[in-house]
Each structure stands twice: as C-alpha cells, then as structure tokens.
C-alpha cells in the first residue's frame, strides 16, 4: 500500500509569492495534519483537518491556510512568503480525528529567496 504522498518534492519561491502544497493520505485515513520542520529542529504542528473541517491549529500566522477535500487529500497554502518560511513541510495522516498515531510523508522542501 502507498504511504502518504506529497507534491511537489522541492519548490523555490520568491519573497511575497504564494505557494500551494499537496498531500494524499494513506488509503483509509481520514485525518491529515501539516507540520513545518525548520532545519535542525523537530516538526512543528500547523493544522489538523478531519472530514474537511479544521480540528486544530498551531501557532502560525493567518498567512497559512489549508483545506481538505472529499477524498481526504489536503492542500496547504502560504501567502506573502517570507524568508523564514523556508522549511520542510510535512503532511501526516491518521485514521480518525482523535488518533495520535500519525504517519508522515516525505515532505516538500520549500526554499524562499
């Protein structure tokens, strides 16, 4: 079975631009979470979505937004990119809304210049 998939693998953007990252969860998993991992640190929680509804939000500015589709895939959008947004963006899926057992995708490496 395929694991969590993310696209694109790498992305280079300029300050002020907008970016959309995509994630497909493990088949049968209905919850998707997004994390940001800055180089040298552990992942930091951004959002959780379940059944197209936001279930949790981390301490990130409103420039970050996300949505989940009926097929449980998800998109993360970041507007007005800053240099500090350069990071590995990870998507994790789990079976249910209250399941902490999360499986991560390979991530999207975003570089903002």
């Amino acid at each position: 079975d395929a694991g969590v998939t993310q696209s694109p693998t790498h992305l280079i953007k300029t300050r002020g631009q907008q970016v959309t990252l995509r994630c497909s969860p493990i088949s049968g998993h209905k919850s998707v979470s997004w994390y940001q991992q800055v180089l040298g640190q552990g992942p930091q929680f951004i959002f959780q979505y379940y059944e197209k509804e936001e279930r949790g939000r981390g301490n990130f500015p409103d420039r970050f937004s996300a949505r989940q589709f009926p097929n449980y895939s998800s998109e993360l959008n970041v507007n007005a990119l800053l240099l500090g947004d350069s990071a590995l963006y990870l998507c994790a899926s789990s079976l249910w809304a209250d399941s902490y057992e999360q499986y991560f995708g390979p991530g999207t490496r975003l570089t903002v210049t």
Binding site: G42, P43, F45, G56, L90, S94, Y100
Partner: protein, 113 residues
C-alpha cells in the same frame, strides 16, 4: 552499549552495540508517545509508540521505556546497524490543538562499522 542520562544531540556507537536514546517530555497530561526515525531528506518514520498505562513496550530490535514520575522516555536499539544512522525524535500528544504531536529535540545517531 552507549547510553546517555540526559538528552545529547549526537550519539556515536559501533555496529553491534546497543544504543539508548533519551528524551524528556514536557506535559504531565501527555498519555501517548511516539518515537520517529528521520533519515536525511526524508519524512519521519514511525518506529514504536507507547501509552501511559504501560512502562515498557518492545518491537523488533527496539524497546521504549516510559518513566512518568520524571517525565522521561527512552528508546533502546539492540545490535545497532549502520542503517540505523538517522535523527531520532520523541513526540508526545500534549493535548494541545487537535491531535498535534509535540516533538522533542532530535538525537543524531551515527553508527560506524
């Protein structure tokens, strides 16, 4: 084998040794913990989890120990192999936003043959 009492950012061992990686978690309310392995350029890979009603759990070549009294978690890897070289993170549920996982500081394990 090598063991560390406090969190250290790096751990170097010889192939065949046993490795022990330690982690201090932050929230007394946390009742679920996961260890992840992250290889360079990849997303975190689920290794083993443990709930707070247990103090030990074993997997294939790995054992997780939980000491709730001092909020301490450890991962023991038996007969460490070069393929075990990676950054290891512990994570707790923490009961914050949604099913956000709170990640500790990673430990880089280097295995020499």
């Amino acid at each position: 084998g090598e063991s560390v009492g406090l969190h250290l950012p790096t751990l170097s061992v010889q192939e065949g040794d046993n490795s022990i990686i330690n982690c201090a978690y932050s929230n007394s309310a946390s009742d679920y913990f996961i260890w992840y392995k992250q290889e360079s350029g990849k997303g975190p890979q689920f290794i083993i989890d443990i709930r707070s009603n247990m103090d030990k759990r074993q997997g294939q070549r790995v054992t997780v120990l939980l000491n709730k009294t001092v909020k301490h978690l450890s991962l023991q890897i038996a007969a460490t192999q070069p393929g075990d070289s990676a950054v290891y993170f512990c994570a707790e549920n923490g009961y914050q936003a949604g099913t956000a996982l709170i990640f500790g500081k990673g430990t880089t394990l280097s295995v020499s043959s």
